[in-house]
C-alpha cells in the first residue's frame, strides 16, 4: 500500500513535470514577444525592456522554465513581492500571482462540481438501478428512453432553455451568480441551483445509462445466479452481489468526470456567465498568458493524477483480486 502510494505519487510528479515542460516549450514556439504583449499597444522600448527584465524574459528559455518549476516547490521573489510556494508565477496580463487567481476562482469550480456531482450520482445511479431492477417493464423503457434523449443534449442548449423558463418567464429563480458559502449559504445555494440542475441533468442521463447497462451485465454473472440458488432474497442479491461488481466501471467514470470538472467546466461557466477555473484557462490561452496557462494546466493535471490514484485505491477496496503493486 505504502509502496504503491510512493510509486504512484513519484510517478505523478514526473508526469506533472513533463506536462509543464511540454506546455512551456510549446508556448515559446508561438511567434510572439510576450513582453510586447504584456506592455500593450503604445509601448516604449524602455518599458518593454523593464517588463522583459521583470518577467525574467531576458533569460534563456531553459532557465526560465527551471525557475518556474523551482518556484512551485520553494516560492519565488518578484518585484511585486514574495510569491510563496506553490508559486505558479505572475500573470503577464494582470500582473497578479497566478496561484492567487486560481484560488480566487476555485471555490466556484469546487461548488459547481460537488453540487452537480451529488445530484447526478444520486439521480443517475438511482434511476439506473431502478431501470435495471425493472428491466423490460414500462418503467425501464421510460427511463431508458428519457436518458437516451437527455444524454444527447448539450449544456449550451439546455442551459438557455432552463434560464428562459425559470428566470425570464416565471421569475422563480434569479440569474446564476456566485456567493460565498460561508457568508451567504442561501445565496450560494440559490445562485448555483440552475447550473447544477442543467449540468446534473445531462450527467444524470449518462450515469443512468451506464448504471443500467453494467447492472444488467452483472445480473447475468454466474455468481449472481449462485446467490439466488442459495435462496438469498432478490433485493439482497441485487445490492450485494450485482451492485458490487458494477462499482468498478462506475468508479472509473466518476474519477474521470470529477477530474475534468475540477479542472474547469468551460461550457457551463460560459453558459451561465460564471467565473471559474475554466474561464481562467480560456483567458490564459487567448491572451497568450504563459504563466496563467501553465498554472491552470498543472492545476488540472494535479487533479487528474490524484483522482487516478484514488480510483486505483478504490479498485483495490472493491475487488479483492486487485493488488496494489
Amino acid at each position: 500500500m505504502l509502496q504503491f502510494l510512493i510509486r504512484r505519487l513519484s510517478g505523478a510528479v514526473v508526469i506533472m513535470f513533463l506536462i509543464g515542460a511540454f506546455t512551456f516549450f510549446l508556448f515559446y514556439t508561438i511567434p510572439q514577444d510576450f513582453a510586447q504583449l504584456a506592455c500593450g499597444k503604445n509601448c516604449s522600448p524602455e518599458n518593454i525592456a523593464v517588463i522583459r527584465e521583470n518577467l525574467g524574459l531576458d533569460k534563456p528559455i531553459t532557465t526560465q522554465f527551471w525557475e518556474f518549476m523551482v518556484g512551485i516547490v520553494s516560492g519565488r521573489d518578484f518585484p511585486q513581492g514574495h510569491c510563496s510556494a506553490p508559486c505558479l508565477g505572475v500573470s503577464f496580463d494582470s500582473g497578479e500571482f497566478v496561484w492567487d487567481s486560481i484560488m480566487d476562482r476555485f471555490p466556484l469550480t469546487l461548488s459547481l462540481t460537488v453540487g452537480g456531482l451529488v445530484i447526478f450520482l444520486l439521480f443517475g445511479l438511482g434511476t439506473g438501478l431502478l431501470a435495471a431492477w425493472k428491466r423490460g417493464t414500462a418503467v425501464d423503457k421510460v427511463v431508458s428512453g428519457a436518458s437516451m434523449v437527455l444524454s444527447s443534449f448539450q449544456i449550451y442548449f439546455l442551459g438557455p432553455i432552463v434560464l428562459s423558463l425559470l428566470v425570464y418567464q416565471t421569475g422563480w429563480l434569479e440569474n446564476p451568480k456566485e456567493a460565498s458559502i460561508t457568508d451567504d449559504p442561501a445565496g450560494w445555494f440559490m445562485g448555483l441551483l440552475i447550473p447544477w440542475i442543467v449540468m446534473a441533468t445531462i450527467f444524470t442521463a449518462q450515469y443512468t445509462r451506464m448504471a443500467r447497462s453494467t447492472m444488467i451485465e452483472q445480473l447475468q454473472e454466474e455468481h449472481v445466479r449462485t446467490a439466488r440458488a442459495k435462496g438469498m432474497r432478490q433485493r439482497y442479491v441485487f445490492f450485494r452481489y450485482a451492485w458490487r461488481g458494477s462499482l468498478i466501471p462506475i468508479v472509473t467514470i466518476i474519477g474521470m468526470d470529477l477530474s475534468a470538472l475540477l479542472s474547469g467546466a468551460v461550457v457551463t461557466e460560459y453558459t451561465f456567465d460564471l467565473a471559474g477555473i475554466g474561464r481562467l484557462a480560456v483567458t490564459g490561452s487567448l491572451t497568450k498568458d504563459l504563466p496563467l496557462t501553465m498554472g491552470v494546466m498543472l492545476f488540472g493535471a494535479f487533479f487528474i493524477l490524484i483522482l487516478n490514484i484514488i480510483v486505483d485505491l478504490a479498485y483495490a477496496y472493491i475487488d479483492p483480486r486487485v493488488r496494489l503493486a
Binding site: T226, A227, K230, G231, M232
Partner: protein, 353 residues
C-alpha cells in the same frame, strides 16, 4: 413421508417414493430468431437419497430443466408449462418468496465452473455461511462455526483460516469443494449438480466425485447429476435419463442403460467415445451430422436425421410421428423391442470393443 398421487400427465417411473416428480415439462424461450423449445415434454422422478443422472450434449435441455426446477429461469423470456412437484409441493406456480425458502435449503445446486460461480468480492466463508443464516436464522457466529465445520468436511485444510480467504486464493478443486460445502450446509433433501467436475482435472475430478458420493451417504440427499460424460455418470448415478433436443429419449437404471441401451442415440454416444479398455484397432463410430436446432426441431423423432436405423421402421413414422418414452425402463424409439435388443447385440456391442 409424502406420497405422490399424481395421475394426470405422462406417466413415468418411480413409485410412491418419488421425492421430486416432473411431469410433461415444457420450457420455451422467446428470442429474436423465434421460439426456442429448450425443454419439450419431459417427465422424470427422483427418489429420496438416490441419484438420477441426466446425460446429454449441449442444447439437450439438461441444464435448463434443472434451473427451472429451482425457478432460476428468467420469467420474462421463458414460459414454463407442466408440473414440478417437490415433496408434495407444486413449484411451477409457486411464488418467488416460496421458492426463496426452498433454494439453498431443501434444494441446493452446484454449478460447473466454481471460479465464476462464486462471487470474487466476498470471502468464501461468508458465501458459505450466508444461506445457513438465511434459512436457519443462525447468528453470524453460529454460521461461521457451521461453515468451518463444512469446509473441514469437504477437505479444505485449515478451514478456520481459509474461511476468510477469497475464491481467487483457492485452487480449482478447492473452490469446487467450497461450492459443495455451500450447497450442503443446510442439509438439503435434493442436490442438483450441473456438470460439477467438467472444469476440473481428472485426478481432482475423481476426488470430488468420491467426495460427493460419500457425503450423499452421510447427508442422505437425493442428487440430480447432470453431465455429458457417460463415464462420470456410470460412477455416480443410480438411474439415468438420456436427453436429446429437449426430450428424454431413454431411461432406466444406469446398469440397464449403459449395458443394454435401447435408443440409437445412446448407442451412438457409447460407440463414439473411446474407452481405456477398448480395442484401439476398432475405429470410433461417430454420430453423423450435428445436433438439431431448437428453433426448428426435426419433425417426429428429433434424432431421425442422424439415425442409421430409420429404414428399419415401416412407413415414415420416424419423421412423422413422435415416439413416446414408455413408463419405467425404455426408450423413445419406433424400433420394436426385439429390434432394439438384436441391433444392439449384433451391430453395436461388437464395436464397443
Amino acid at each position: 413421508m409424502t406420497t405422490l398421487t399424481k395421475t394426470e400427465g405422462e406417466k413415468a417411473p418411480g413409485g410412491p417414493e418419488a421425492f421430486l416428480s416432473v411431469r410433461d415439462l415444457r420450457v420455451r424461450f422467446s428470442t429474436e430468431d423465434g421460439i426456442v423449445k429448450a425443454v419439450d415434454g419431459l417427465s422424470f422422478d427422483v427418489e429420496r437419497g438416490k441419484t438420477l443422472g441426466i446425460v446429454g450434449e449441449s442444447g439437450s435441455g439438461k441444464s435448463v430443466t434443472n434451473l427451472t426446477v429451482l425457478g432460476l429461469h428468467n420469467p420474462k423470456t421463458a414460459t414454463v408449462e407442466g408440473e414440478i412437484v417437490l415433496d408434495g409441493k407444486e413449484l411451477v406456480t409457486a411464488t418467488e418468496k416460496e421458492m426463496e425458502k426452498l433454494r439453498g435449503n431443501k434444494v441446493a445446486m452446484i454449478f460447473q465452473d466454481p471460479l465464476t460461480a462464486l462471487s470474487p468480492y466476498y470471502t468464501v466463508g461468508r458465501q458459505i455461511a450466508e444461506p445457513f443464516m438465511k434459512h436457519t436464522g443462525a447468528s453470524k457466529k453460529e454460521a461461521r462455526a457451521r461453515a468451518i465445520e463444512m469446509l473441514d468436511k469437504v477437505g479444505i485444510p485449515q478451514p478456520a483460516t481459509r474461511f476468510d480467504d477469497y475464491p481467487h486464493q483457492f485452487s480449482g478443486g478447492m473452490r469446487q469443494r467450497a461450492m459443495i460445502a455451500m450447497a450442503l450446509i443446510c442439509d438439503p433433501d435434493l442436490l442438483i449438480a450441473d456438470e460439477p467436475t467438467t472444469a476440473l482435472d481428472v485426478t481432482v475430478q475423481a476426488q470430488i466425485l468420491d467426495l460427493l458420493k460419500d457425503l450423499q451417504q452421510e447427508f442422505g440427499s437425493a442428487i440430480i447429476f447432470i453431465t455429458h460424460d457417460l463415464g462420470v455418470i456410470s460412477k455416480m448415478a443410480d438411474d439415468l435419463l438420456v436427453m436429446y433436443s429437449g426430450r428424454a429419449v431413454e431411461r432406466g437404471s444406469v446398469r440397464e442403460v449403459l449395458r443394454a441401451p435401447q435408443h440409437p442415440y445412446t448407442w451412438g454416444l457409447l460407440s463414439s467415445m473411446p474407452r481405456l479398455g477398448g480395442d484401439t484397432a476398432q475405429a470410433l463410430t461417430p454420430i453423423p451430422g450435428t445436433p438439431p436446432s431448437l428453433l426448428n426441431p426435426p419433425s417426429g423423432c428429433p434424432f431421425h436425421p442422424r439415425c442409421g436405423f430409420t429404414s428399419e421402421v415401416s412407413g415414415n413414422r420416424c419423421s412423422g410421428e413422435r415416439p413416446l418414452l414408455p413408463a419405467g425402463r425404455g426408450a423413445a424409439c419406433h424400433l420394436d423391442h426385439e429390434q432394439k435388443s438384436t441391433f444392439f447385440i449384433e451391430q453395436i456391442k461388437p464395436r464397443l470393443g
